[in-house]
Symmetry: C2
Subunit: 220 residues, 2 copies
């Protein structure tokens, strides 16, 4: 199934506001591709206008990224990361407990952690001035903190979530970055150190630069 | 890796309040096991007392289910469903576009749909009487509806999300069921019909009965 002779294609946005730069999810896919040194192309979409109707066939939620490798099309960053992981052991162990530990943490990042982080982030970014917001945010905060605490505890004495660096770390570190406008991650030193470790990787830096390089300087 | 001579073990709760019955996530794993006719054992935990410290090594978020198959341990329902899917084509196509379509929809259920449903459900179940709740809920409702609409559209003319019945449907249908206290799913006839189709499967019914049968009749 590996189509190593073709360049995979990742959809991304041609422009997003400052607060979203570095958070758009094509970054996860770019990061994985940079880790294994696989060249790719980005296909840029307009975030401020409806995407072409036919894009829904590639990404039913009308988001980025959608991914194509030869004839194969995949949506959802979790699925794309898993696909890339299955092609290269630098991203995912080929079998056994090590493989399933990384896959379990991949799902954790996206289902047990991200939803609780995004509740806070959505309040902060999109409902900042609503009169009900402070109390609603306060009510959600303990659950978000509990998830962060669990991940921090699981990282005790470990460099990465599931043994060697893996797709689970790409997912978890980019998920945690949605709190970059807060001090929440800093409250858990093991978590902050883990995030810094991931973001210090040359592949992460190249991926981030590539996402920024694709943004047009001005709203078109 | 298949340990078909052993009985896998699924952790579950020995009692949960009425509103949570049929929603606890061990149901997803039970359903998948019932679809392939694989006998399993449940290992019951107390939902109202802290789990033993060592349980965190099996399930770092202190939730159910955790799963064991022979020597292999897996947490996160998404990961467990993927593991079972890889063992039986009745749950997941073995390769190619069909496999990745099902995996993409599995991640969609857990990352693009469930988080937005659970915002509404958490408000309704846990913050019902808070003065800020109605406005906060109202503000989140359009995003939840948008996700439901996308899934309903993707189901147009299709019986299941990714061709034949798969782990994606187990995840999506149990995710949708978190709205059973509302009329939201009924507002999208394609979605309501899809959910009814899944819940009419004998394997679903057996799984649900098994979860209920494990609950003690009275709080201990």
């Amino acid at each position: 199934m590996a189509e190593t002779d073709t360049r995979p294609v990742v959809t991304a946005f041609e422009w997003v506001p400052e607060f979203a730069r570095g958070l758009v999810r094509d970054l996860r896919v770019r990061w994985a591709l940079e880790e294994i040194g696989r060249p790719y192309d980005s296909e840029l979409l307009n975030a401020r206008a409806p995407r072409p109707e036919k894009y829904l066939a590639r990404q039913p939620f009308d988001q980025v990224p959608a991914f194509r490798d030869g004839d194969l099309q995949i949506f959802e960053t979790g699925a794309i990361l898993l696909y890339l992981g299955e092609q290269d052991e630098r991203l995912l162990a080929a079998e056994g407990q090590a493989r399933w530990d990384a896959i379990a943490w991949l799902f954790s990042a996206l289902n047990s952690v991200e939803p609780f982080i995004m509740r806070i982030t959505h309040y902060d970014l999109f409902h900042k001035d609503k009169p009900w917001m402070p109390e609603a945010r306060e009510a959600q905060l303990p659950l978000c903190r509990k998830k962060l605490e669990r991940v921090a505890e699981a990282l005790a004495g470990k460099e990465w979530l599931a043994g060697p660096f893996s797709i689970a770390d790409i997912a978890m570190i980019t998920v945690l970055n949605n709190l970059r406008h807060t001090d929440l991650v800093a409250d858990y030193p093991a978590l902050a150190a883990y995030k810094a470790r991931g973001e210090a990787r040359p592949a992460y830096k190249r991926a981030l630069e590539a996402q920024y390089a694709d943004f047009t300087p001005e709203p078109a």
